[in-house]
């Protein structure tokens, strides 16, 4: 057992840390990100700078723009980026975490050359295209249809809450290619250029962030945009979700640090109840950090962390709720003041977080679905 990092790992982390602290574009990117609107011009610049150093995809092979390092390095890079980005950090990005993961395992050589290098250099990103009005937790129920027309696939239907659509270049689309029981056996994955005629993106303002619905009306998708084998999409999705549920705790920890600082300077830390609550959160944060680091540790040993990723997701998302609510209690009446209000405390951060954090318990599989996974896959309880 070892709960420390090697000198090489610490050096790697420090380099990223210093870059983000000092780079001229980093601050602008942080503001864009915090506004909840996704990538703006500064973000694209900073992504390219990070990409040029291989820091977006340290665990990918060198030939695809990675550094050929163990997954633990990716976790360290993500920790630094999330800590820096703070609020608005969305954890794993679709291009790196989902598209990249699936293409590395199942993509054609042509697809790998076409997309992986550009993803790793920070030039492009993907919008996750899974959720539909009738396919949330029950993802296998998705119905957007992709018909094989010989030369191309013809796609018709609707997606919901596809967050990155307004700034990403590509859609990472899960579509039905066969009507079959069980339903998950008829789903395929596609890469779709979001500028393709027939695609309409309609923005949705959600609590604390911007997202979209997206309509496909007779959209022609070239044959070479099918990823892997036809009707194997759901397996790839599940495989990549274990990666997407990789969280780092650094952003939330940053918020807790601010809260602890606030308690000290405001004198509230003398209150025994507040002391108890903050000590408890700091303990839970440490557990979340260890749960988070278990994922790359397992990946580096060739293990697939499905229930472990579910444990992390539940623990992290529910801890986030506890942090935000404790902050609201400590801030007491000030907690409701928005960022730009007179008298707002801590830059109104916890007012924003109070609503924005709700996404955490829902997205990428609700905490309830995660508990199902833990029960069935880790504990082997009977499905019926």
């Amino acid at each position: 057992m070892d709960f420390g990092f090697s000198p090489e790992q610490e050096k790697f982390r420090q380099e990223i840390h210093e870059f983000l602290e000092n780079d001229a574009d980093a601050k602008g990117a942080k503001e864009e990100w915090a506004a909840g609107n996704g990538y703006g011009p500064h973000t694209w610049v900073i992504m390219k700078k990070l990409g040029a150093r291989g820091w977006l995809t340290p665990a990918w092979p060198k030939e695809y723009g990675g550094l050929g390092l163990p997954a633990m390095y990716r976790a360290l890079a993500m920790e630094e980026m999330d800590y820096f980005t703070g609020r608005g950090s969305r954890g794993v990005l679709c291009g790196i975490g989902m598209t990249g993961t699936v293409l590395l395992g199942h993509g054609s050589e042509e697809q790998k050359r076409e997309y992986l290098l550009r993803i790793s250099r920070g030039e492009i990103d993907f919008a996750l295209g899974y959720t539909e009005p009738e396919a949330g937790s029950d993802l296998a129920n998705l119905s957007i249809k992709a018909e094989d027309k010989g030369d191309y696939f013809l796609v018709n239907g609707q997606k919901m809450f596809n967050t990155a659509c307004h700034y990403a270049q590509y859609h990472w689309l899960g579509a039905r290619t066969q009507v079959v029981e069980p339903k998950y056996k008829g789903i395929s994955l596609f890469i779709v250029d979001l500028k393709t005629p027939g695609i309409t993106i309609i923005p949705i303002q959600a609590l604390g962030f911007k997202t979209n619905q997206i309509f496909y009306d007779n959209v022609k998708v070239p044959k070479n945009c099918l990823v892997g084998e036809l009707n194997r999409g759901f397996y790839y999705i599940m495989e990549a979700l274990d990666h997407e549920r990789t969280y780092t705790t650094s952003r939330l920890n940053g918020e807790l640090e601010k809260l602890i600082q606030y308690a000290k300077t405001s004198g509230k830390s003398k209150d025994p109840i507040i002391r108890q609550k903050l000590a408890q959160l700091s303990t839970e944060m440490e557990i979340a950090k260890l749960f988070a680091l278990r994922i790359p540790w397992m990946l580096d040993r060739g293990m697939r962390p499905t229930p472990e990723a579910a444990i992390l997701k539940v623990f992290y998302a529910e801890l986030q709720q506890r942090v935000i609510n404790t902050a609201q209690q400590i801030l007491s009446p000030y907690g409701q003041l928005k960022k730009d209000s007179k008298w707002a405390q801590l830059d109104g951060e916890f007012e924003l977080e109070y609503t924005a954090s709700l996404e955490g318990i829902i997205t990428r599989g609700t905490c309830e679905v995660m508990r199902n996974i833990i029960a069935l896959r880790k504990l082997g309880l009977p499905a019926r």
Binding site: F3, A279, I311, A375, L381
Partner: protein
Amino acid sequence: MDFSFNEEQEMLRKSARQFLEDECPKKFVRDMEEDEKGYSPELWKRMAELGWMGLLLPEEYGGLGGNFLDLTALLEEMGRALLPGPFLPTTVYSSLPILHYGTEEQKREFLPKIAEGKLIMTLAITEPSGRFDEAGIETKAIRSNNDYLITGTKLLVPDAHIADWFLCAAKEGEGITLFLIDAKTPGINCTLLKTLAADKQCEVILDNAKVPARNILGKSGAGWEIASKIEQWGAIAQCALISGCLQQVLEMTVDYTKERMQFGKLIGSFQAIQHQCADMAIDVDAVKFITYEAAWKLSQKLPATIEVSRAKAWTSDASRRVCLTGHRIHGGLGLTEDHDMQLYFRRAKAMELAFGDGDFHREIVAKELGL
């Protein structure tokens, strides 16, 4: 980062599990609740032969030079088996402080005997104040030539009724001094207390018990530094016990959901049950990691105050949640005395309370955070 035990620790764990499954079945655990001694000298001897008492001691004192992580692997198995007896009082609470703070003469006197299983010791700190801090000590030590006369009441002293020696904290002037006291010293009176877990905790009354000055452990008046170190070691040892105990509760409960039918279905197929089991599994994983991290820090001789207190705060609370959920899922059956569930439920409470519960340790964490 490495979350796994090494080969040696895995071998120790397997060997300990097999030994305890054979030698410490639940019938034995129940018998020991009724037994006045509360342990089996025969089993004690065999554990000593396996080298367990000397795990943390260096070879020169008959030990094996193991570290806190090795101990954690062993304690998890003891917690799983609910092994009764004076293992922790003798080793972690007594032999470890002697090793770290004793004179060479004291080490030679006590440690080899402990390693051989020929000496049982225990720690007498807690008093009627029920506190775990320095202010809770009222027992007095008064110097008289080359001896001290010690007077006071110690409570909830584990296994005092069978101990050969006590490590006892007493107030000397304004400071606290630790004394090694022969249990046969005149003026010492030991009474078994009736406890929830039917473990053997005692009241020890010292009435002018005469202790030679050479039996001071560490420096006169500087005993609380040692005592707080012991509390740290004791707390993490309890965490390891709890970890093994809860792992077994989880396994027992999950197994039960796979065989118990209600409404024509296995109860494990109901999501209400599944989600409760998932929450138990999350708690148990968290207990392990937070305990292992603190034990690792101690094994690396790194400062571990906040880690130990985080571990004890979390495991103490988790033990209640996991045992309670275990009981809920076992239903009425788990409430019968014939069922093992209630053994775990009662024992876990004793572990939770030993060396400070969640609230106590959260306050330490708060201090460490600079609050």
